[in-house]
Symmetry: D2
Subunit: 341 residues, 4 copies
């Protein structure tokens, strides 16, 4: 069988690193090129010493000719950059899995609202499929452009959509207290992520209705609930490298029974390889770190009539690159779990 | 001036350690004795090498004669143990500052409800003063027995009581998402606190209406609001040694204006040396770790009509031993900040 | 092809966990059984939630009948336990890879000297092959019993043997300053590994000639140098989960040239998939953590005439379970890197 | 008594922060000014929220008039900057405690050798006193300019000088394996100190004869031994905020007896408040972090004839700002331990 030819654009950050680790052990894939503006010419094996040393890749400049030669391009570019090259790649008949936020919101208005700038490729906005495999698997199969969901929305939506669709919850609003390891803040040097400042610390940031991931969550909840559900969202940076844990509070759920809630979740995910419902305990980050699993647990607090749903997952895997490869596997009719378990 | 004579019972844990650090630098205090069952005879300076080496204390057995010879005894005993010796100490005319949970709840029923055992000293239960200085300073001044509040309730109550009393919030229920460093789980060896399990992890525990601190919080909120307010409370263990951060969500506050909320808090604490209201950012743990300060900040999220109040403080200082010394300073008419700033 | 049938004895610790992660993704292997005294009957997938959930293993009791049914047994038992069951397994014609220290030292006297107890299976002591693949690959191929080397000796010997054999160093003694992540201290609860004590700390332990790994290192250096080389060894616990870094000092090396030293190392390991020589920098733990690689770098300090050799590797992978699977691959003529890259 | 008037130049880094924490609780000191180029006008209490909020300092620009108005200036400036303003401050008759490396080496040649640039104030180089109180207390008392020793040299010299002077060791060279928390790398954003890179990592840097602190150590050992002793020095960054641990190897010591070695150290430091010799265990970082103590322990390894001396101390306190205040206390005949215990 000929291998799938894959390219990566924007190859020096944490998500590209994880993507490479997965793709280099994927038996059906050949990484044809990986680009980096700042590291052009550098050996990828030298730059990421934990990768197999006998891959012969060097970082290259972006060269549009490359787009013709591959089946799919992963974009690990920052927000705002993907939309500049997606038309070109799609024009070459090549598929795109975009790990940036550029194509996650369905309308130019919504994009402008959350990203504070007009979208440069609005024609393709509507064609993109929101790449949450457990919800949009059929659409992903047909897609030319997959918008890989943000890290925080992944856990939040996997936790809430089954409860919305089943009618188990009919909330006015939803409270998401989110905690992320520092790799979620990226490789860019900032004071917030300076070791001495982040270590022995816990820092809320972007509280209020400001984090861009709220846009994704509200958009997808609207679809699931068929009405608008405002989301209260406080992200917090915790002193660890990898992993997200979200504690979600839902006031006065329709189903007031913990076991029933868990059954609804288990039913929904019965055939899913990467979503796991915990019966008798809540998720913790270490269960999920280093895996492509998302763990979900729930507690119904009778005294307050509040349902507490907790999820954990690896922000770089199920939250980014693992999910991106899962999308690739779906898109090209490969075994969905290959290289991910 | 003669120095205040002080005794410590239960001297080998984290709170006793912090208490000693503070008391040994307190110019008006002499530590007359410190007890430990397991370490009787051991030099305190050897056991806690970061203490000044020229203190000549050895751990002693509990000896009731000692209670006559001191002005105040700090109890760093586990829950259930304090109530066994408090009658004896009070009987000797000596004051008590109890760091355990034994006297925080006002009625035997409430104690039994949360601690799942009958109280062995119910006569003194009603006499104890809940030692939150910013709320009960006058009562503490007159007290014979001070029940030092739990760590989590300290931040929660300092955040909520001013808003309750001012009428700024009139909630049906309150959501507290609490995060604590691992010293909050004590010195006892447990799998949860084993380094390899706690590091690179974040673990919710006691979710639902089970954590004993809920009892304290609901009791004091009832006083402040003059009605019952159920508290949703999810504590979570974060991989750092010291510090608590609580993210509190209040749905549909009466005052829908962030600046006004902050002014109410600032007014309430204008003369308080240890509570600090942040104007333009939210608290983080590192601000407070190693200090006796509690930091409070707030965001009003207009889109969801939710008030988010965040506090941070050191669980071993403002959350335990620092507050205990603050209570001692009040009780004996010393300068309230001595040895604490 | 029929799969290799594999059993694991002592399945609940950190090395068994890593072993399972590797073996469950190994295409040529079937894990036939895994034993645990304390967890008999528990689902392995529940106990280790990051493993693929659809493995149907439960922990079993040790049952000697199982030994007939597999091709190889991995022993993750504590020191002193392996020697009790090895005769039985070998008697069943089944091969053994022992991750404990029981068969690493070649003579009963040496064992007694370092482990302070007589060896219960001295007849097999002499037959065991010291399972350092880069040095003993041919012997491993023929072995019935492979003694998987200790974590610290792995890096030390990989760093020193090529320099010994080439004559580049001819030291009187060797200084090894070793640092290990806390998983090296195992899953057993100890004060040293309690989060609050290990975090924000760095602790030397077993300094002097007491750590049992010195015995292995001196034994193998004696072979390489053909004379006795005393080893100064100070292990230190560092606040991280996984990884070892060893800083080795060699006074007055014969070859007084950094580049030549690096060339000797590169030549020696040119065909080795898991040992990597760094040209222009020293190893750090993060390069190696999560991989089966051992990184080696060197600096020759002309002013002091001292050669500094530094290595890093994952104590649970190249230092334990990764190397164990590498040995299994060799033993059964599988591709040596399968499931390890 | 009039308070000592103190100024701080370069006030936003970690050492200035610690200095402020100490000086603001020092009963005999008034902090008259604190400068910062980048934060001129900012409230110091806002910038360092853990400081007492009622200090009314704002960061100022450097203004030479200020130098007349104070008794002593602490320089927390980077290397190369101190030498530009020291002449001015000394000219105003004001004393200087310089926390940079500018005046630690005694000769312009030595400075140029280690700092790779000519010294701009060589006249004062010879007048500076190397501010290690336990060795140079008498000279510090008379000094106008105190060169506060580097962090690494502090522990190394306190460990070695008593052994040198007593003749207990007469080495050809000395091996120092040094480990430092990340605050030792300063507040400047670097990849090495980015949380995700420094966490779960351990990184040697500046191996070989390159770290500037070697110059200080060799200079002071030359004085103690009365001959040149080359120092092998490998510093390593460990994932914790504060603290240094140095493992020092001395081949073939003259005194081959652990107890005698410890007695020599204890004798030397019998009256010293901040150096503590451990009898029966080795130092760990947590003992010393947050204190001005330096802990020293020793093991004599008979099998290899090597003396292992280990020290631990807080790099920001005994290694920098704590020692600087100790020097100030000495310089102005205050109680040497005030504000430090």
């Amino acid at each position: 069988m000929t291998k799938l030819q894959v390219g990566i654009v924007g190859g020096t950050g944490y998500t590209a690193h994880e993507l490479l680790k997965i793709l280099l052990r994927h038996p059906d894939v050949n990484v044809a090129f990986i680009t980096s503006e700042s590291k052009t010419g550098t050996s990828v094996a030298d730059y990421f010493p934990d990768l197999p040393p006998d891959n012969f890749l060097n970082f290259k400049e972006i060269d549009s000719q490359n787009f013709d030669s591959v089946d799919v391009v992963f974009l690990c570019t920052p927000h705002g950059e993907s939309q500049k090259i997606v038309p070109q790649i799609l024009g070459a008949g090549t598929k795109v899995i975009d790990l940036s936020g550029d194509y996650r919101l369905r309308t130019p208005d919504s994009y402008k609202n959350w990203y504070k700038m007009p979208h440069a490729d609005s024609p393709h906005l509507g064609n993109a499929v929101y790449g949450l495999p457990e919800i949009y698997r059929e659409q992903i199969r047909q897609a030319a452009l997959v918008a890989n969901p943000g890290c925080y929305p992944t856990g939040a939506l996997l936790s809430l959509i089954p409860l919305a669709k089943s009618g188990a919850i009919r909330p006015e609003k939803i409270f998401i207290d989110a905690k992320s390891g520092v790799s979620g803040a990226g490789k860019k040097l900032t004071q917030l992520a300076h070791f001495v400042e982040a270590n022995e610390n816990l820092t809320p940031y972007n509280a209020g209705h400001t984090h861009r991931h709220i846009g994704e969550i509200e958009q997808e909840l609207q679809t699931a609930f068929n009405r608008n559900i405002p989301v209260v969202f406080v992200p917090q940076l915790v002193p660890l490298n990898r992993g997200i844990l979200e504690t979600i509070y839902i006031d006065r759920p329709a189903v007031k029974n913990q076991q029933q809630i868990l059954e609804i979740l288990k039913d929904f995910y019965r055939k899913e390889p990467f979503v796991r419902i915990l019966d008798d305990k809540l998720p913790a980050i270490q269960m999920a770190a280093g895996t492509n699993f998302c763990f979900i647990g729930a507690v119904y607090d009778r005294e307050t009539d509040v349902l507490i749903v907790v999820n954990s997952f690896d922000n770089l895997l199920k939250g980014a690159s693992g999910k991106a490869v899962q999308n690739m596997n779906i898109l090209f009719k490969l075994n969905e779990t290959t290289a991910l378990i």
